[in-house]
């Protein structure tokens, strides 16, 4: 299957008064056509920065980015404008991602006017088509964002992202700010659109349950580093990295008849400023050892399942032993 997006050794550092922040540190991954890559992690792990860097909304510090096999690491002005059509983004906060002074119609028409250079009848028709596609009532076209609820605003954001017929969309926590019942509506919409148009998504979220539903593959990030990546079901059935384990066990479940043994992490997240070499999770890890001080390589431990942990095999073996002992 062709790889729509591929990144190699991508780094994004920010200069801050406290020092150099390693927001994204040496991340490599690829996403195939029509698939959703879930990127999970908690605040400060760099997932949002990763998404924005890939689509050139922020400039990378180092590394390579490929789109449909083409090297787009250093696009020229003209190329960048073309890329805007193919690479789009849906934002998290429906309250701040829409210009408060523009109506629904104007917001959706902006990209159509700027890039696809539409006007008149064509413009109106396309706007209507997009609104219908995402499920916004035509009568709302002259409404302002503050008159709409979060779910509808998010639909406007999705219509805007779709207006340029992109191939790849970064979904940056698109449902985190919505109520549960609206979340389900929007997730269903995104999945339907993917099925119909063969869209490729990078779905960024901190919500593991959501990611399980919508992603084909999942990558787990911690403090700028990618620590584990594998097909979705595989990750949830056999989490290998200690952080992934903790993350999964921390999720409160509604299945109260089968309470999960929660792994409570000790300590707080360490700082992403001028970090020490080696695994950044070591400070909170129950399996920390000397080997953790070296840079961890992503290694294939199970089929198609990569982990950046020097003790991954051991931990996996321990788990199996434990499961065998308990029925």
């Amino acid at each position: 299957m062709e790889r729509v997006i591929e990144i190699k050794n991508l780094k994004k550092y920010f200069n801050s008064p406290r020092g150099m922040v390693h927001a994204v540190d040496d991340v490599s991954m690829y996403i195939e056509k029509g698939q959703t890559m879930g990127v999970v992690g908690e605040s400060g792990c760099g997932k949002s920065t990763l998404g924005r860097t890939i689509i050139h909304l922020q400039e990378k510090t180092e590394g390579e980015i490929f789109f449909n096999g083409r090297d787009i690491s250093h696009p020229k002005q003209k190329e960048l404008k073309e890329l805007r059509s193919s690479l789009q983004i849906i934002f998290q906060d429906p309250y701040s991602s829409l210009n408060p002074r523009m109506t629904v119609e104007e917001t959706i028409q902006e990209p159509l006017k700027i890039i696809r250079k539409m006007n008149g009848e064509e413009l109106r028709g396309e706007t209507e088509r997009l609104m219908e596609l995402v499920g916004i009532d035509r009568r709302l076209r002259l409404s302002y964002p503050h008159e709409l609820d979060g779910g509808r605003r998010q639909r406007v954001g999705i219509a805007r992202a779709l207006s340029l017929n992109p191939r790849f969309i970064v979904c940056d926590e698109p449902v985190s700010a919505l109520d549960v019942s609206i979340q389900a509506q929007i997730l269903n919409l995104l999945m339907d659109l993917q099925d119909e148009y063969g869209l490729t998504y990078m779905f960024i979220t901190h919500n593991m349950s959501v990611v399980r539903h919508i992603s084909h593959k999942v990558s787990v990030m911690y403090l700028g580093q990618m620590v584990e990546t594998s097909p979705t079901d595989e990750l949830f059935e056999h989490p290998l990295h200690p952080y992934t384990n903790a993350l999964l066990s921390a999720i409160p479940t509604t299945d109260i008849l089968h309470p999960r043994k929660r792994i409570i992490l000790k300590g707080e997240i360490t700082s992403p400023v001028d970090p020490e070499p080696g695994c950044r999770f070591a400070a909170r890890c129950a399996y920390v050892s000397d080997g953790c001080k070296k840079t961890q390589e992503m290694r294939e431990i199970l089929e198609n399942h990569f982990v950046a942990c020097c003790r991954a095999e051991e931990i996996y073996q321990d788990k199996i032993n434990l499961e065998e002992r308990e029925p």
């Binding site: 906060d93 701040s96 902006e110 700027i114 409404s143």
Partner: protein
């Protein structure tokens, strides 16, 4: 904090026309009694001034040696001055100068200040540093002093006075605009605009300025009032308009000699200046409240 009303907004479904922020602001303004009062007073003053030729039979420059220093009477509602000229007529015509110069000067200042402030605020960096330091120097000198110096340097004449008045006002508007722009700099809709191919210029004009204008609108309204005062000051010390132009400040200056024996001469120009400034200030205050709905809720 999102107001209760905004959180629960599900009505307005199925409407063709909807409530723009402009409309909402105007409605809020109308609910404010002092603002409405200020607005009405100002409109009355403006109308009086505009309709001057139809309201008074006198010529503002005509001498009338038989009627010098007349106190207020049915023939001359505000009395006459040292040359027998009808004071009310001079006030009405004078208002044309005071008010229009006030508006024009502030208008220019607004254009300059908004452009400068939004560019500096949005782009930041070196440009911002340099321009701000430059404006700092301007602002270090007390406003009226600066205006006086500029007026003195540029010489007499309406255009030069207007230039002096607007230049002194640019730094404060620019700074205000810059602060307002910096507040919304991190907003996602700006990122979204970039993601759909919006150029920097278009972003500033269509996205940044409309959303950070509010404090500037208030400042501009208050600024007109303050400019009218500054103009009066300039004329008072002889740097503004020249006789026989009936500018309010000039009239005050003329009347100061006779303040003890003919107090009405200084009273009426003073009242008009005060009313203009007061009504504009009320309006400005009301606008500030109307533009910031969070304050009300």
């Amino acid at each position: 904090m999102i107001s209760i009303r905004t959180r629960f907004r599900t009505k307005k479904e199925g409407r063709e026309k909807s409530e723009s922020t402009l409309h909402a602001t105007f409605m809020r303004l109308c609910r404010n009694p002092t603002a409405v009062f200020g607005g009405i007073v100002f409109i009355i003053l403006a109308l009086l001034v505009i309709l001057a030729p139809w309201l008074t039979p006198y010529d503002y420059a005509a001498y009338d040696t038989k009627n010098l220093f007349q106190p207020p009477s049915p023939a001359h509602w505000c009395g006459t001055d040292q040359f027998g000229r009808d004071i009310l007529t001079r006030l009405l015509y004078g208002g044309r100068y005071s008010m229009s110069m006030g508006f024009i000067a502030v208008g220019f200042a607004a254009i300059g200040g908004v452009s400068l402030g939004s560019i500096c605020g949005y782009i930041g960096g070196r440009l911002d540093d340099i321009v701000m330091r430059f404006l700092d120097i301007f602002q270090a000198i007390p406003g009226i002093l600066l205006t006086i110096c500029m007026a003195a340097a540029l010489g007499n004449g309406f255009d030069k006075v207007i230039i002096a008045l607007s230049l002194t006002r640019i730094p404060s508007i620019a700074r205000l605009m810059r602060g307002s722009v910096m507040k919304i700099r991190g907003m996602e809709y700006l990122e979204a605009a970039e993601a759909i191919g919006c150029s920097k210029a278009r972003r500033i004009i269509k996205y940044v300025i409309p959303n950070s204008m509010a404090p500037v609108i208030v400042e501009v309204t208050m600024g007109i009032a303050s400019t009218v005062l500054q103009l009066a000051t300039l004329s008072y010390i002889g740097l503004g308009v020249q006789p026989p132009t009936p500018e309010w400040g000039a009239m005050l200056s003329d009347a100061k000699r006779y303040i003890l024996i003919k107090p009405y001469m200084i009273m009426f120009p003073g009242i008009f200046i005060a009313l203009t400034v007061l009504s504009l200030n009320f309006l400005g205050d009301g606008l500030r409240d109307a533009l910031d709905p969070k304050l009300k809720d």
